[in-house]
């Protein structure tokens, strides 16, 4: 790109002249072109960053950042979030026994119920998350342990999964579907939420399980083998369920073909590995019923847990989170505070620079070099 205007011929001509310059070669002056580019006189903006030139930038940044920060902070504060740890580490915790007894091998489900109170009503859609702590879903070997082709419905990959899935690749001579450590460690607690109204009756809160996965994942990335119309049981014939699973993949949601097999949304959500060891994953959505009543009115609630997922072995924690979201996502005061801080600092530095500018920088700051 730089040499685009450079004429290599000119030089070469000189060279090949070595072979036959007896011939009358046309004389061409070797005088370099007097162009701004070649003479390095391109008009340039010369950012001489002095106190005088940067201080407007500082003020501008300050003036922009502080309002944004306030906006972020306010909107973050408007988000309602409720979080409850149901791991059952404490003896007092209702799930303590389950936590102690549950293991991957246990076949009988362990049930426990956690009561909690929402002090404020949750307006609009409420997102229900399960949260895991100290769970390194981002471990290098763990992250790799999957076969995207298999999950995309590739038959050959279904029958012979990628080596990356080892040691969860085959079980009893049959390929595991879905293979790999991620799938194997699928979160399998089931959570049910009830509202206890004033007269003590448990009202089931409808939890929508569709729409929790990304659209692209649901429709592009994850596909059942053999197309959607086929019988899933047939499609997964000759494969084995993951070791830790209680039921095969085609029975994840027997009621809804759309949500079964690899396209099961809970499965899809789990398969998108979390960035950090403490994470939450969307479990269900509680949809707003009407504009008049809040989605979750304040009051007593009970969370029924089908406790299957052992986390105590690695000091993990399990949580259930209810949250509304805003345009900037979930509740996070950090960004608002950070914006306000940075904005303030910039403003302050702007003032400092102004002082310095008046003290030292008396020179005429012409940023553009005339050429």
């Amino acid at each position: 790109m730089m040499a685009s205007s450079y004429n290599a011929k000119e030089e070469d001509g000189h060279h090949s002249g070595a072979a036959n310059h007896g011939g009358a070669g046309a004389v061409k002056s070797k005088k370099p072109d007097n162009t701004a580019f070649k003479q390095q006189r391109l008009p340039a903006w010369q950012p001489i960053l002095t106190a005088g030139t940067v201080l407007p930038a500082f003020f501008v940044i300050g003036l922009i950042f502080i309002p944004i920060g306030i906006g972020l902070y306010v909107s973050s504060n408007n988000i309602k979030e409720f979080e409850i740890d149901y791991t059952g580490v404490d003896i007092s915790s209702p799930c303590h026994t389950c936590a102690k007894n549950v293991s991957w091998n246990s076949t009988t489900p362990c049930l426990c119920s956690v009561h909690f109170t929402l002090k404020q009503p949750f307006e609009s859609n409420v997102f229900m998350y399960y949260g895991l702590s100290n769970f390194y879903q981002n471990h290098r070997r763990y992250v790799k342990s999957r076969d995207d082709s298999q999950l995309n419905g590739d038959r050959s990959a279904l029958m012979s999964p990628s080596k990356e899935c080892e040691p969860y690749r085959t079980s009893e001579g049959q390929p595991i579907a879905p293979c790999g450590a991620i799938a194997n460690s699928l979160f399998n607690d089931t959570l049910e939420l009830y509202h206890i109204d004033s007269n003590g009756t448990r009202n089931t809160i409808p939890l929508v399980k569709k729409g929790i996965a990304w659209w692209t994942d649901k429709h592009v990335k994850f596909r059942n083998p053999g197309g959607n119309n086929n019988n899933l049981t047939l499609a997964f014939q000759g494969t084995s369920k993951p070791v830790n699973w209680r039921k095969p993949v085609y029975e994840l949601d027997p009621l809804d073909d759309e949500n079964n097999g690899f396209t099961n949304e809970d499965f899809i959500v789990w398969m998108r590995t979390a960035a950090l060891p403490t994470f939450r994953k969307l479990y269900r959505i509680i949809q707003k019923k009407s504009s008049s009543t809040p989605t979750l009115p304040s009051g007593q609630y009970v969370l029924d847990i089908n406790y299957n997922y052992p986390v105590l072995s690695f000091d993990g924690r399990k949580r259930m989170i209810l949250s509304t979201i805003s345009w900037m996502g979930g509740k996070n005061p950090f960004l608002g505070i950070a914006y306000i801080t940075v904005g303030s600092i910039c403003f302050f530095l702007g003032v400092v620079l102004l002082i310095i500018h008046h003290k030292y920088d008396t020179r005429n700051n012409s940023a553009d070099i005339p050429n």
């Binding site: 730089m2 450079y6 090949s16 009358a24 005088g52 994470f279 939450r280 950090f334 030292y360």
Partner: protein, 1375 residues
Amino acid sequence: MERLHWVQHRCRHLLDGDSGRGWYSAPNGLPNKNFSETHGSPQRVNGKRRTVFARHGPHQQDYEAVSRNYKGNAIRTTKYSLLTFLPMNLFQQFHRAANLYFLFLALLNWVPVVEAFQKEITMIPLVVVLTVIAIKDALEDYRRYLFDKKVNNNVVRVLCGKQKAYVQRCWKDVQVGDFVRLSSNEIIPADMLLLYSSDPRGVCYIQTSNLDGETNLKQRQVVSDLPFQGAELTLENFKSRIECENPNNDLSRFRGYMEHPNGVRVGLHNSNLLLRSCTVRNTETVVGIVVYAGHETKSMMNNSGPRYKRSQLEKRLNTDVLWCVLLLIVMCLTAAVGHGLWMKNLKDPIFQVDGETSPALAGFYVFWTMIIVLQVLIPISLYVSIEIVKLGQIYFIHNDLALYNEQLDSRIQCRALNITEDLGRIQYLFSDKTGTLTENKMVFRRCSIFGIEYPHEENARRLEVYEAERNEAERNEASGRSVTLKSGCSGKSLSCRSLSCNRSSVSLHTLTNEAEEEEDQLTDHIQRRTSAFCSRVAREVVPDPELVRKLSWLCSPGLTLSDGSFRTPSSLELTYITDFFLALAMCNSVVVSSPGQPRHMVPEARGTPLKSLEEIKLLFQRFSFSPFSTLSPPQIRGSPHSFTSRLFASRKTGSFTFPTPPDSTADRSEPGPENHLEASNLTPELDLPSREDEGAGQAEERVDDITEYAQLSPEERDLTREVDSDDELLYEAESPDEAALVHAAQAYRCTLRGRSAESLLVDLPGIGSLAVKLLHILPFDSNRKRMSVVIRHPLSGQVVVYTKGADSVIMDLTEAPKGAEQAQEIYGHIREQTQKHLDSYARDGLRTLCIAKKVLEEEEYEVWLKRQLLAESSIENREELLLESAQRLETGLTLLGTTGILDRLQEEVPETIEALQRAGIKVWVLTGDKKETAINIAYACKLLRANDQLLTASCGSKEACVALLHELRLEVQRGEDSHTEAGNHGKSSSDSGASFVLVIDGRTLDWALQEELKNDFLELSCRCRAVICCRSTPLQKSRVVRLIRDQLGVMTLAVGDGANDVSMIQVADVGVGISGQEGMQAVMSSDFAVSRFKHLSKLLLVHGRWCYSRLANMILYFFYKNVMYVNLLFWYQFFCGFSGSVMTNSWVLIFFNLLFTSVPPLIYGVLDRDTPADTLMELPELYRDTQTSKVYVPFMFWITVLDAFYQSLVCFFVPYFAYAGSDAGDLSLGSPINASALFIILLHQVIESHTVTWIHALVLGFSAGLYFGFVLLFSLICVTCSPPTNPLGVETLQMSQPLFYIVCALTTVMALLPRLLFRALHNTLHSTAAQTDNADSEKYRRKMQRWNLKHSRDSRVPVCVDNPGLEPNTASVMS
């Protein structure tokens, strides 16, 4: 692509350059040793010999037996063939450490336990680098292949065995033993022995410019005593056998013999050999027998690899790369230990894929994984980038108009590609004097004959006028018009002359444009530059009236009898004068050609056309046999023609009456009558044909002519001369001094008209053309410092030796002629006077040469001749024997006189030296000249100032040298003390105070360079502002440079123009060659070749500084970029159990460095301008910043690394906190991190850039666009690719959310805030500092001006007397 071509061309250039090396290995005895040290002695296989028979000749069996192993003439310079390209290229590439590192990483990734990315991904950098270089190599090789093919298929006429005739053959089919017939301007296909030349004297001229760049013609001679001499060469009559050396690469050496069937052996030497790739010139037909073909030819054997120097910055860079390696290891160790500890605290986690591995082993694995993950920290691509950046920098240096020389049409040549930034760090500059500081356009200035000085006042004035005129012409040319277009010449002859004489004359140069239309081969620009030494100013010498008057006695002494006011010169003096000019005209190796037939021989004169010759000869014999007899006027009176008319007649008729060889009809027709008539019609002086017949009465008129001529105003004289010298001869000399002397002789009508192997044709005043039998030429060499010719004197018939040489040598060799006491006395007086004149010439900065003569007795000559012939024909020790023989001859000489040749300073030399000194560069001048000359030049170029204290070191013994050095040191000490005292009192005296300048001569330098004394010498020289080494040999020059370079550890630059500077240029860190008048050796061995000394200031002060600061900044930026990006990955390890996982798609990770952020640093490195060029030129002091490498110091490196750490912390943790606890996936976290890292990295460059042009903007925008385009596209279409980190839908989703932009904005601002603040504060404070600097230098300059003013007023030293070029400068200082 064009860039690659260019690279390739440059490399080729380098390769070509090496072919010239052989030239200076032999002629100079002294530096020989040094050269062999530096680039290996020429291979000499003395034990084996090569035997050559004619290919289709009588000795068919012998030929086949002998020639089987000789190579054919086909050449193959390609490195690879189609089949071998891949393996060989890969093999060669893996010699580079960087590629091995890549390979290691790629292989490491194949180990399953440590595998970090997909296997193919780590291959990408390796594959990219290998492919890029392989493509470059392939293109280069392909072009070489095409070139070979072209060369191999060139057609030449070869004697065919069957047809017994010369048939057309391709070069590649030529074999050893073939007879090849070439005509003029054909290129020689192989090394051949010259067997036949159409030239009757058996010579042929070749031009070796393809080999060494020298454009003067070299004479080659037919093998002597061939049995078929004269007859057409046929296969049958060539029965001889040739024995010669095995092929070697010594261009200047060829030894062997030819054995004829009758057993006679004829010695063969270098002058019989036609070298491949030279061009035959001026000779109609030559026939030779091939002795070396193809790769065994000398020119091919001289091809060696390109010049490689490692720059200082690169060394510095390597230590920082090592620091990076250390950093990498520390980071990997941290990760390994962290992973081990993390593993230890885990109990059976569900996410642990294989729990069996022990923590220690897992940690070990992680160590290697991390090396793969963090590989980018080692900036391997930096090396490739640096090379590209340097190419870009060289491209701009190459294209700089300020480094372009209009007159020579030459740009700067950058021959070394990798040391551009060293130009910015030069601390010591070693300069040759002649041709480097000065023009090396020698102009005859004055002379002293017979102990009488002829000051040539007119000549001096003329030089000044010329200077002014030239300035004017330059000004005029600047405005696009040429005013000095001389009228009165026919277009044809005008163009011819201007073609060959445009070396210095601006006005003539412009004329060439008009002449270009002519389909003359001379229009080739190489040709145009050839006739180096016939600049107008050198040709025109205004004769000294006194000398003219004396000379006129030679032909008409009667005239002065009638005019009693003139002192009558003694006849002895007259013989001296005649001999002096004869020596000037003859004692040289000048090749004569006339403009009508450029570069062709002037036909040889066989007879003497003038009737009066016999009489003059008689007269002359009387002079020489009875030196003290008075003249007898009647003899002269009888002379029928006046001087002028005779001269005219000779000129006019000479070319017609000379019998010309029968086969040179084409040559003869050229200077035909039309031309002459045409020319003479135009000349007012010459169009009086009647004058010829007017007889003796014209004597007065003649003298009037001459004196009148001398009194003409310069303009008129110009015109006269212009017309007068229309068929003027062109002289091509090996050294400019020679040409100057020949022209000087010509000015006194003692003209060299032609030259052949056996005779010289000389015009003598009052006599006309004389054929002088040339017996021998003992050529100049730097050991003898003289050259001699042995001739048979045309007038006296004696064998005379004329010697011309350095005064120191000649003065020692001369002795008073035996004979009368009176003569002894006179001679002693002459010697004394001449010595006095010599000294005064040297003081005036003139180059002095002594002319001496010796008359040999016939017997004496016979004896010497025998030894000389023996020496010439010997195969072993030929050089030594010849030297010895020459020394035997050159003794007992009679001193005739001395000449002073002016070598004017190049333009703007004083300014350049001053600028360089202000830039903190110590300038040393190393010259072979006399002390006085050197000092004078030093004054002239302002290296020495009037109040500088001159320390002269000149002593005869080592002990004296010890004492002297000690004493000088004390003196300097005292001077410094008093100086500091003064400095304490008056603070401003530091600038104007006297400083010391050391002048040391060659002999003392020899002592000073010895081990025991060199520290003293160093200490002394360090305290001196400048050092002038005079009378130094090439070897000493290089030793001085080496001493300074090694002992002081500074960057040195050596600049020179001649072969004697080559060793110095090679030793210095940066060698600069001045492509001047003395061939191309210096250029060939240099790193940069400029055409003027003044170019150095722009080259160093602007380009050097730019290159250095650009490169240094780019390197820092590169480190920053890598550390910054890699640390992002590192911080993530704290949140993924140090398992070596990444939050980015691995393609993006690899491409981030390779694609998205690779071009901006290159642009930054090529285009950034930290200070505008004119500021740098005005304030050379700014150079000191880079000189002491303020930009790239360890401190800056660590600051940069720390900043990178900070930025990466911000860049990682802002998104971290923004996404902590949320449902973000790993790639979702990586997306804002990557995007903000890109913004930070690009904007960081904007902050660091000193200039932002549209190119910068374009590239930055392109980089950002490329990144976003790539990741968006990738996250749209990549469904199952890139398995562990499948990006499908990630970026699209992220970028649709405002959070992404909020995070990016915050991160970018936060990360760049400190750097911005730092820059702003630094610039604010620094700019005030710069301002004060500015004011300081302003003050300094004013002080300098005042000082100069004072200096020029009292004019203690006659600086400007002979340096008209200086006058305007001092004038401008005053005004």
